[in-house]
């Protein structure tokens, strides 16, 4: 059996390549495909093998794999986990030593004692896969996790990760968060018990409602990375500035990034608003409580907006104060839109400064809305905004009423007429 020994040597060489589960599975599939042919070919084993050895390594390998696999099959290795690669190697080793004699499989594991060449593989598969094993063995079979090492979506990890599934239950929009760079990996690395739970408990203690957690974490996932002492310090600072706890809770719910800023920065901003607008402390508190985003945004655009109001629009200081306290959004509004709507109000509608300051909500509306309504009133010859004259139309009603109420009460017309008029503009 010189051929067998040569084969055995080659088998030893290919042992190294048979190191992964995939190789075992591949050779299994090879075997299944080649089964009808192999029986005939094995008979003409001698001459073929020599030529096959000198032929391409792939075909040679498949032969070798076959030789090893016969022994594998016999030990129903395919049912058990292929992490027992050592097992494979041992078997091949033992089988190789025995190849010289009888080509018999090893007697380590339960198997049939027939010659592998005459093995009926269907029988082998049946007995190996469906054979009953006891419960302990069943539990000890460990299935390797099918988690991909890298992925572009958190979808693959949601079921396995406790943190992610709990976040989904809270209402966090993971799909939106995974589009931000690095946030997905950060969330995966968090541990629920040590990282997420203490911070959620802290938020609950300061009075944030459970239904807001999803919103807060979706907009600011980095709140889960902040140090709890820092968070505590910032809340104590706000309370020292005489913000009540309900106010603090509502501010945190509406401006999720609030607690990520350090105490110095919060102090800086509160001081800025108080100085620039020359407001009293309670007015500043009121302003910030209604628009907590003011503490989060950068101050340059706010300064520019204030300059625009003073210089370009021509409001006096007390008028600006009144406007800002009534409609804080003016501080963060778009400069171009602000000037456009003021230009229309002052130059086209001929509304003087004091009236605009009296009704600051007109500066917050959409330009198209004001334009359409004013032109409709002008067409009906009802556009009269001077309170001293009769048939006066107040700006705030003109701008804030919904379409039906505006048409019936102010314009004394129908909604259909208003829509038809819009198509002539």
């Amino acid at each position: 059996m010189a051929m067998a020994s040569a084969c055995g040597q080659l088998c030893m060489r290919c042992r190294g390549s048979l190191s992964s589960k995939t190789a075992v599975w591949r050779c299994y599939s090879h075997v299944r495909h080649l089964i009808p042919r192999t029986r005939q070919l094995l008979k003409s084993f001698d001459g073929l093998f020599i030529t096959k050895r000198l032929a391409s390594t792939q075909t040679g390998l498949s032969w070798k794999q076959q030789m090893c696999c016969y022994s594998d099959l016999a030990e129903k290795h395919l049912t058990a986990d292929a992490k027992d690669n050592k097992h494979t190697k041992e078997l091949t080793k033992t089988s190789i030593t025995q190849i010289t004699n009888t080509l018999m499989p090893s007697t380590d594991v339960l198997s049939m004692t027939e010659h592998p060449a005459f093995l009926d593989l269907d029988d082998a598969a049946e007995s190996s896969a469906l054979e009953e094993i006891c419960d302990e063995e069943a539990i000890s079979i460990s299935v390797p996790s099918s988690l991909p090492p890298t992925s572009t979506s958190l979808r693959d990890y949601v079921e396995k990760s406790e943190t992610l599934s709990k976040l989904v239950e809270l209402g966090v929009n993971l799909w939106k968060l995974e589009q931000r760079p690095n946030v997905g990996s950060m969330l995966l690395r968090l541990d629920f018990k040590t990282d997420v739970a203490p911070r959620l408990m802290f938020l609950k203690e300061i009075g944030v409602k459970d239904s807001c957690f999803g919103y807060i974490i979706t907009h600011n996932p980095f709140v889960l990375c902040e140090n709890i002492e820092n968070l505590q310090d910032r809340v104590t600072y706000l309370k020292s500035r005489k913000f009540s706890s309900e106010t603090v809770a509502s501010m945190v719910s509406r401006a999720p990034y609030l607690l990520n800023f350090n105490v110095k920065r919060l102090d800086n901003r509160l001081g800025f608003y108080q100085q620039q607008l020359q407001l009293s402390a309670s007015n500043t508190r009121n302003l910030v409580a209604r628009l907590p985003k003011l503490l989060c945004v950068s101050l340059e655009p706010v300064k520019e907006n204030l300059k625009v109001c003073e210089i370009e629009l021509g409001f006096k200081q007390n008028e600006i104060q009144h406007i800002v306290v009534a409609v804080p959004k003016v501080l963060t509004a778009n400069k171009r839109k602000l000037t456009q709507i003021f230009d229309f109000l002052h130059n086209t509608m001929k509304v003087p400064h004091y009236l605009i300051a009296k009704f600051p909500q007109v500066l917050n509306t959409k330009y198209l809305r004001v334009r359409e309504r004013h032109l409709f009133l002008e067409y009906l010859q009802k556009a009269q905004y001077d309170p001293t004259l009769p048939n006066y139309i107040s700006l705030d009603r003109m701008v804030s009423l919904p379409d039906e109420a505006f048409c019936t009460e102010l314009a004394l017309s129908t909604v259909e007429d208003f829509y038809l008029f819009q198509k002539t503009l």
Partner: protein, 326 residues
């Protein structure tokens, strides 16, 4: 109520009234966002997967193997917060564009209607504009908000002179129509096309005004109604400027308003408050319905005219027969 099924089956054309000062892309984006937001179906139930959950053994023996029990667990990987919304993009296309300083009818298409939009773009369909203009100044970009280049008097302009200038322009445009039609004017083919009214520019050509008239004249302001092909709004403003020059004065265009684009008029156009998903679906269905009824009406009228022609021919032949006979 717009369900995902209805949204998937939404295909067709509709038109929208574009407000002044708004870029056409903003209109298209707003409509797409509204269609996606209007999708208010309740999220489907999560599929369940069977998982083996470890249960502590009832007697609590130390070292005893935990028993596994199979239980259906909702698969969180299919949760809408993890996968995202079902529809993230809807194909909404725009027909003939309108620049930001103009307003009027803007044809949009949804889904498979985009192919019809392509055909509409290529066919020779005219558009109707109302130009509100003013005598007395000329500006850099021909509109009343541009930098003023020249100011002039307009006291000498009468309606008669204006009409004369308009007639001259119309004549020039008619000539351009024939020139761009790629058909030899002295051929039978040209005559047949002209009889049917199909003589017109072939494919891309210079802008052509097929109709031009003055609807309102009160100096300094006047209004023109224009039907045109292959135009841009800037060209129309330039035409107004040239009319001013022809009248030995100057004119600017205050407002360019499209009242009709092919078969879509401003009556069917959706105003800004009607840009919700339900209104858009209704508009698409209405357009399809009107197209169908028009087709049947046209077919019936053709058949009836064919029938009358046939009966007339019979009567004539019978008459002739009688004459010959008698």
């Amino acid at each position: 109520m717009v369900t995902p099924l209805k949204l998937r089956r939404l295909h067709g054309l509709f038109c929208v009234y574009k407000p002044l000062g708004v870029h056409w892309k903003l209109v298209r984006d707003t409509i797409e966002t509204n269609l996606l937001k209007g999708n208010v179906a309740p999220p489907p139930a999560l599929p369940h997967k069977v998982r083996f959950l470890a249960e502590p053994s009832p007697t609590g023996e130390a070292g005893a193997a935990a028993s596994l029990s199979a239980a259906p667990v909702p698969a969180l990987s299919h949760h809408p917060l993890v996968t995202g919304p079902e529809f993230q993009h809807i194909r909404v296309g725009v027909g003939h564009r309108l620049d930001a300083a103009s307003s009027g009818v803007l044809v949009l298409a949804v889904g498979n209607g985009n192919k019809a939009l392509d055909d509409l773009y290529k066919t020779r369909v005219t558009r109707d504009y109302m130009l509100e203009c003013e005598f007395g100044m000329a500006t850099k970009d021909f509109s009343h908000t541009g930098r003023v280049v020249e100011k002039s008097t307009y006291g000498h302009i009468t309606l008669d002179k204006l009409e004369r200038v308009l007639a001259m322009l119309e004549g020039a445009n008619q000539k351009a129509t024939r020139m761009f039609s790629n058909v030899d004017m002295s051929s039978q083919e040209a005559y047949e096309l002209a009889v049917q009214g199909l003589l017109g520019p072939d494919g891309k050509s210079a802008p052509i005004l097929t109709g031009l008239r003055c609807v309102h004249f009160q100096p300094p302001s006047f209004t023109l109604e224009v039907q045109c092909l292959n135009e841009t709004q800037k060209y129309l403003r330039k035409v107004v400027h040239e009319i001013g020059l022809e009248l030995r004065s100057t004119a600017v265009c205050k407002n360019v308003r499209r009242t009709r684009d092919g078969l879509f008029t401003s009556r069917q156009a959706l105003t800004r408050n009607q840009w919700s998903a339900a209104d858009v679906m209704q508009a698409v269905q209405q357009h399809r319905y009107t197209k169908k009824t028009e087709k049947t009406v046209r077919k019936r009228s053709e058949e009836s005219s064919a029938a009358t022609r046939q009966s007339k021919a019979d009567v004539m032949s019978s008459h002739r027969g009688k004459e010959h006979g008698s």
